[in-house]
């Protein structure tokens, strides 16, 4: 039952994902990509959960978990910051135009 629920959730999310963006100005292509890339860093939640206190004895678990957390953090933090910088440029350019 739980899997079915998750599937339901998946399908609905996919619907939303397809509806969300339709016509994006070309100047926004890269920022949008970058921004949603940062969101895909949500896998950090999985990485965190992989570092169960109960597994502390297993160096393999710790290794995999820590590596996952590091990589995911880079993705999340770097992703959001770089997107923000891009959009900053963008807005600046637009106000320059005026």
């Amino acid at each position: 039952m739980d899997t079915i629920n998750l599937l339901f959730i998946l399908i609905l999310s996919v619907f939303i994902g397809f509806e969300l963006i339709s016509k994006v100005p070309s100047t926004l292509h890269t920022p949008l990509m970058s921004g949603s890339n940062a969101i895909s860093g949500i896998t950090i939640v999985g990485a965190l959960l992989a570092l169960h206190a109960g597994d502390a004895h297993d160096p393999w678990m710790i290794g995999l978990g820590v590596a996952a957390v590091i990589f995911a953090s880079i993705n999340v933090v770097g992703g959001y910051l770089v997107t923000d910088r891009m959009l900053g440029m963008f807005i600046q350019k637009r106000s320059d135009d005026k």
């Binding site: 998750l6 959730i9 998946l10 999310s13 994902g17 397809f18 969300l20 963006i21 339709s22 016509k23 994006v24 100005p25 070309s26 100047t27 292509h29 890269t30 920022p31 949008l32 970058s34 921004g35 949603s36 890339n37 940062a38 969101i39 895909s40 860093g41 949500i42 896998t43 950090i44 939640v45 999985g46 990485a47 965190l48 959960l49 992989a50 570092l51 678990m61 995999l64 978990g65 820590v66 996952a68 957390v69 590091i70 990589f71 995911a72 953090s73 880079i74 993705n75 999340v76 933090v77 770097g78 992703g79 959001y80 910051l81 770089v82 923000d84 910088r85 959009l87 963008f90 807005i91």
Partner: protein, 462 residues
């Protein structure tokens, strides 16, 4: 359910909502910056909620987050404006490998605890690892190409397509085996999957030219969303599923949009190794007419920074001058450089186009003559030929036997992309075939010129 758990789950719901709003806002210039903020808030909420769960190994977590966060922050701050796309590729690859590791770790835990997993958990692990791996190395190659650490030329070897396909089939086979309850030695299979997925990522991106990398990164970004989604199924975590699915789906849409703006199909981008095979392929399609819809033409026009209108008798017949001027104004307002090239014999009387364009209030200063515009034609992104035919017929330049050979024409065929707006393949006044329609960079936008232009305008407005 405990209250903490309830609150955590509610936080996840809110985070999912923030992601949805965030992506939506990122899609429009006015709200994009705020959108990124909103989505980052969602991320923060999701992370905090997860940490609140308890029972985690907080020291390692803190270390990991600090190290990763610092690296990410410094990289993001330091990177030159021009190098941003490759930085995105890099980050994206890290997201992919993280999903791979999450899948792996989850399997490792079950393996070490000796508690066998159901196929319903093994399948997501397989997918998370496979897609995560492809995303990782694929993104690395894209990064290498964009930063010119790797040759940005497509790298091809004979039989490559076949080899890739074979590899894919093999890894899927292994994946099926991996999910089967009867099969033992799953850890070995998993490691094989990890290995093959990493190789596949490299092989898939290596044959693509540097110019197409943005599209590839966008696609890989969608993949990393899917990988995260799969990881979500692995650990039955809804916020991962939602966020991953959102990125996966909207990333696909974005990829499609970017392809359209480049006037390419996704297949063409992924499999043609275009940069290298382009020449021969160009010759191959000669004699073929490429129709295009107004919807698709929009994406190309939208991305153009220099547009040339070439009106002809057809514009007059369609009485499309007002619509043309409006499209011109829209483009101008968006910062596109817009000009109108008037050929002296266009129409059916001297000054025919002038009368119509003046009626529609096109500024005299935007009108150019063929002699002025031809030398700079190479830098025109999009040429819109609106019911003109003879006056843009390259036969006048190329075909010594043509009755119009020697006539100066507007050399639209030398622009990056040419849209020809007419109703059919019929010839113009001079009654001669027009090779322009068969050129590789030409797209026929069939239909009454006014209708077509109005359609294009509609695309710009919403």
């Amino acid at each position: 359910m405990s209250t903490t758990q309830l609150i955590i789950e509610l936080c996840y719901i809110v985070a999912a909502g923030l992601f949805i709003f965030g992506i939506k806002m990122l899609g429009s210039a006015k709200t994009a910056k705020r959108g990124n903020l909103v989505s980052s808030l969602g991320m923060l909420l999701a992370v905090v909620a997860t940490l609140a769960k308890g029972g985690l190994d907080y020291r390692w977590i803190a270390g990991g987050i600090i190290v990763g966060g610092l690296i990410g922050a410094v990289a993001a701050k330091r990177v030159a404006m021009t190098a941003m796309p490759e930085m995105v590729a890099l980050f994206n690859g890290f997201g992919g490998i993280a999903s791979l590791l999450v899948g792996w770790a989850e399997y490792h835990r079950s393996w070490s605890s000796g508690f066998p997993l159901h196929w319903g958990s093994l399948l997501p692990i397989f997918l998370a690892v496979l897609i995560g791996g492809i995303t990782f190395t694929g993104s690395m190659v894209a990064y290498g190409k964009l930063s010119e650490k790797l040759s940005s030329k497509p790298l091809l070897f004979p039989g490559q397509g076949l080899f890739n396909a074979l590899l894919l089939v093999i890894v899927i086979g292994i994946g099926i085996a991996y999910c089967m309850p009867t099969i033992e030695a799953k850890y070995a299979l998993l490691l094989a999957i990890v290995g093959i997925s990493l190789v596949l990522g490299v092989l898939a991106v290596i044959p693509i030219g540097g110019g197409d990398m943005p599209v590839v990164i966008s696609l890989l970004n969608s993949y990393s969303g899917i990988a995260a989604c799969a990881a979500g199924f692995v650990i039955s975590n809804k916020v991962l599923i939602v966020a991953g699915a959102l990125v996966g789906a909207s990333g696909l849409i974005l990829t499609a949009i970017m392809c359209k703006a480049m006037n390419r199909s996704l297949t063409n981008v992924l499999f043609s190794g275009f940069g290298s095979a382009g020449g021969s392929q160009g010759a191959a399609v000669e004699g073929e007419v490429n129709p295009i819809s107004a919807d698709d033409a929009y994406y190309i026009l939208e991305a153009a920074s220099s547009v040339l209108f070439v009106p002809g008798y057809g514009m007059a017949v369609a009485q499309a001058q007002h619509a043309v001027r409006e499209l011109g104004s829209i483009l101008t307002a968006r910062g596109t450089d817009v000009r109108y090239a008037v050929h002296p014999v266009a129409g059916r009387m001297p000054g025919h186009m002038n009368v119509l364009l003046a009626e529609a209030n096109v500024d005299y200063d935007q009108l150019v003559e063929p002699d002025d515009v031809n030398p700079t034609m190479g830098s025109v992104d999009v040429c819109l030929v609106i019911g003109a035919n003879d006056v843009v017929n390259p036969a006048a330049r190329e075909d010594t036997t043509s009755p119009i050979y020697g006539m100066p024409i507007i050399e639209v065929d030398r622009a990056r992309t040419v849209f020809v707006l007419k109703r059919s393949m019929r010839s113009g006044f001079a009654g001669i075939e027009n090779p322009l329609f068969f050129k590789e960079n030409s797209r026929m936008l069939f239909g009454d010129a006014k209708t077509s232009i109005t359609h294009l305008i509609e695309q710009f407005k919403d």
